[in-house]
């Protein structure tokens, strides 16, 4: 099978982007991606936009707003929605579009503008990503779902503790300071992380990713076209899985089956094992999610994720650097943009363009993007 490459990436500044609209955010990322790929707008043959929520966008066709604003009409365009995994599923759809032969040059955008609504409203919108009929009536917020996973994880693995969650926050905030596009560039200490106010027990303020505005764009091309680009990064493995909507019906509360299935497919397709991964970005919407991701991705055995973070094995110089761009935790989590921004980060890592946060000699990268509390997971593997 011919391969698909990413040849251009762009990310808007993430953060509380007051006074900037969804389409304007996307324009920032789009322009940077085109310049990075050194292609002209008119060369794009097909477009896919990941955007998670009409309620955040306050519009029912946010994708169409973006397409028009980028000046891409009348090229084929559709939107992909898979909650917080919308971005990675859009990348997956971009890969399919190219592999099907429908297009050789595809633009994939991810965008979300989340801060224009109040925090209680944002909490409501996010809460309704869960089962709005049967579970939302119990006041379940999005942090509440991951808090349920955390309570069960901490009870299941007796030697794990809340300090392990805090250590994830400390790491990711540290790396956020090295990423100029990150929402928050501030060190958080373990003491601060352990004393923040409780958002959803046992998760505290610093266990939660940031509600952010942001966009990311990438240019994907077929192998045939890739020859003309200097530094193509190849997508060599893709995996995806799904999971029950209701948390009450999960087989496990210490793992996401969707992520295990997705990782397994992606590793097989790429012909690699977890040990071969040089750099990873994982979906740390909450600190517990990063711990669980270590295990679901096979970076360690079940119950051993706390040891990985205690040993700093997921730091820049560790065995498997994870989220050295600050993760969703510090970079921010504009939900539809997140997956595309993950791809952009790994592409830059494999090109060796990450400066202070560069993993030296990284050849193989991985992104792990989870929608909802696991309802959708996409894992992609990339090679230089």
């Amino acid at each position: 099978m011919p391969r698909v490459a990413v040849v251009g990436v762009g990310i808007s500044k993430f953060g509380r982007r007051k006074g900037v609209s969804l389409r304007e955010l996307t324009f920032e990322a789009f322009k940077e991606a085109l310049e990075d790929a050194q292609i002209k707008k008119d060369e794009i043959q097909s477009v896919i936009t990941g955007c998670a929520s009409d309620e955040f966008a306050m519009a029912n066709q946010p994708g169409a707003q973006i397409q028009e604003y980028l000046g891409l009409n009348p090229k084929p365009h559709f939107r992909v929605e898979a909650a917080c995994a919308s971005g990675s599923m859009a990348v997956r759809a971009g890969w399919m579009t190219i592999q099907s032969g429908l297009a050789d040059i595809v633009l994939v955008n991810g965008a979300e503008k989340m801060t224009e609504v109040s925090t209680p409203k944002a909490t409501e919108i996010m809460g309704k990503f869960g089962d709005s009929t049967w579970e939302y009536p119990f006041g379940i917020s999005f942090p509440g779902y991951y808090a349920m996973l955390a309570s069960n994880y901490l009870a299941t693995y007796k030697e794990s503790g809340k300090t392990d969650l805090a250590k994830i926050a400390v790491k990711n905030h540290y790396y956020g300071t090295l990423n100029p596009k990150a929402h928050m560039q501030k060190i958080v200490t373990e003491e601060q992380a352990l004393s923040g106010f409780i958002v959803a027990y046992p998760l505290r303020l610093h266990d939660c990713s940031l509600i952010s505005d942001g966009a990311a764009s990438i240019v994907m091309v077929s192998e045939k076209v890739a020859k003309r680009f200097d530094k193509p990064i190849w997508i060599t493995g893709l995996g995806a899985g799904s999971e029950t909507h209701a948390i009450g019906r999960r087989k496990s509360l210490t793992s996401l089956e969707s992520a295990c299935v997705a990782a397994d497919q992606a590793y097989k397709m790429a012909g690699i094992t977890p040990k071969d991964v040089d750099v990873a970005v994982v979906h740390d919407c909450f600190t517990i999610a990063e711990l669980i991701a270590y295990e679901d991705l096979g970076f360690c055995k079940r119950g051993e994720a706390p040891i990985l973070i205690r040993n700093k094995d997921t730091y820049l110089d560790g065995l498997i650097p994870v989220n050295v761009d600050g993760g969703l935790k510090a970079k921010g989590h504009p939900i539809g943009a997140t997956g595309v921004a993950m791809t952009a980060e790994i592409v830059k890592q494999l090109r060796g363009e990450c400066g202070e946060r560069q993993v030296k000699g990284a050849k193989i990268g991985l992104s792990h993007n989870v929608g909802g509390s696991g309802q959708f997971t996409a894992v992609h593997i990339y090679e230089a």
Binding site: K121, K128, S132, F138, I140, A147, N152, V199, A200, I247
Partner: protein, 146 residues
């Protein structure tokens, strides 16, 4: 009865009588007549064998707490001043929420009133029961078995 007595979002659902049963003090689930697969929350269709022939049965209500949380930053529906959070009027502190494992494949979600997350642990023996709220809605609570 109005399913909105239980749900905040929808009123029309084939299993709406779930809310009537709750009001009468029973937590109901459904079982597929063809493959015996059990559903809680109840379903009118079997996701396993695709049969639409289902029986109602009353859930067991005692079991072990599988997980819990206490949500301090609440969705807008619940974050309105007073009354919107069950059991919270006195202190304006929302109750914890838990998942109770009552039998293989059935976990009941409920509020855990008059307690704090610090006093709960996974594995606690609890009982689920329907509870009428002041605003006419019905919900489910979990209480410690002494």
């Amino acid at each position: 009865m109005d399913f909105k007595k239980f749900s905040l979002m929808i009123n029309e659902i084939k299993v709406a009588t779930f809310a009537d049963s709750l009001a009468q003090g029973r937590i109901m689930a459904t079982r597929c007549k063809k493959c015996n697969c059990e559903y809680y929350p109840p379903q009118s269709d079997c996701s396993q064998c695709l049969s639409q022939e289902m029986d109602w049965f009353e859930c067991p209500t005692e079991g072990k707490l599988v997980s819990f949380t206490q949500i301090m930053v609440l969705p807008e529906h619940f974050a309105l001043p007073e009354l919107s959070v069950p059991f919270a009027k006195a202190t304006l502190t929302p109750s914890p929420v838990g998942l109770l494992d009552v039998k293989e494949g059935i976990r009941i979600m409920g509020w855990i009133p008059r307690t704090s997350a610090n006093d709960l642990k996974v594995g606690d023996r609890m009982k689920a029961s329907p509870q009428a709220l002041d605003d006419g809605r019905v919900t489910i609570i979990l209480e410690m078995i002494e």
